[in-house]
Each structure stands twice: as C-alpha cells, then as structure tokens.
Symmetry: C2
Subunit: 106 residues, 2 copies
Amino acid sequence: MQKTKRKALENAGWKVGSVTDFLELTPEESSLIEMRLALSQALQKQRKTQHLTQIDLAKRLGSSQSRVAKMEAADGSVSFDLLIRGLLAAGANNTDIARAIQHGST
Amino acid sequence: MQKTKRKALENAGWKVGSVTDFLELTPEESSLIEMRLALSQALQKQRKTQHLTQIDLAKRLGSSQSRVAKMEAADGSVSFDLLIRGLLAAGANNTDIARAIQHGST
DNA sequence: TGATTTTATGTCCAATATGACATAGACTTC
DNA sequence: GAAGTCTATGTCATATTGGACATAAAATCA
C-alpha cells in the first residue's frame, strides 16, 4: 500500500497498520474503503482543476462547506452516493468516475 | 435511450417519458440514475453467473432477500453503497464495477 | 395441477447519512 | 500581525436508508 493512501486512511480514522490492521478486513471491506478513498481524492482533484472552492461546490450540491470537506477527507459519515454526486457536480463524467474506481484497486 | 433501460426505470418508479420526462432532470441526475441502473443490472447478472439465489446473496451481505430484490430492481430506497457492496459480495471486482459505471454512460 | 422454490412489493422502525451551524486552523496579502 | 479567504472538525435534528417480516407473484418441476 502506498504511503499517501495510508496517510489518507489514517486521517479518515481507519487506523491503518496499527492495532487494527488490514488483516482484519475482508477483501470486500478493503475494496470498499479504497474505492471511497479513490473517489474522495478524485473529487478534490476535480474541484481544484475547476478552480472551485469547497463553498462553490457545496452550493452546486445544495450542501455545505463542512460536508464537502468531509467528502474530500473520506470521512466515515460520507456515502458513495454523495461522493458520486459531488464528482458529477464538479464536472466529472462517468468515465472519470469509473477510472477513479478502477484506480482504487488493490 | 434503450427500451430495456426505459422499462427498468419505469419499473423502479422513475416515470420515464411520461409526464415527468427526462427533460426535467439535470444531466447529473440522469447520470446518477443510469449508473444506479447499470449497477443493479450488473448485480443481477453477476449473481446469476455465480448461481446464487437472492437469499444466498442476502446471507453473504448480512441482509435479506427482499432487499436484494430491491437492489436488483434499482429501487429508490437502495443506495450506491449497498449496490457496490452487493456486487463485491457477489464476486465482482473493482474492474467489473468500473465497467458497469462506465457502461451506464449517457 | 399442486408443491416447491425463487423473486417482487409493501410496511415498519432502527441505524446511518446529511445539511447546518459553530468554531478552529491554515494560508495569503496588505 | 491583522484581515480576509479557504479548509478542517465536532455536534445535532432531521431525512434517508436498510434489515426484517408478511405476503403476493412467478417460475420450476414432479
């Protein structure tokens, strides 16, 4: 696992590599987490290339800055649905999303 | 839009082409719906190729037969998260999922 | 046909996700 | 270093989602 991924997961509270190791996660759980992570990273990237602030994106989404921050942080309280809607609102298309998910492979 | 898609959407209560036409949906909303649809179809396909009943899959998911049925029907009460978890539980991998999402393009 | 298995649909309430708010921190610019 | 802008984090009430159950409908097969 890459260092950046590990860091991001830890920040999101996933306790990677510490007591609770990935060994305790089923492959499905790992896949899910990595996909969420990939999407959150894709979201931030997309938002930035579009020169949007979190507030801008929040407005498009009918949401709030704090939630967008959580989305990009892959916070546990953020669903796939919201991440996808975020990406679409930030101008990503199906292909971009598919690529992110694919990229999140283990 | 293909006939099968239209039918599936209608069954799922999305009222395609009737009073509420797709014209009322933003491109983002359309994308979302089509992705959900693509995933639900991929799920049923995957489950069947694995020769699993809805009950089998429900057990793997820690869910119920009725919910699996709703997942495959792209019912409005089913989230992306659940669809993805369903696909993974049915043996699909990230690539399969990415392909489904990509295929759900407009 | 009747029995059995599989899938579909509706409803309920417990669990989870979400927008909103408050506030803190980070970063820039003057 | 103050002011302004952007991002991060915690909390909460409300809204949405999900497992479970009941039951109907379809499909399979003897």
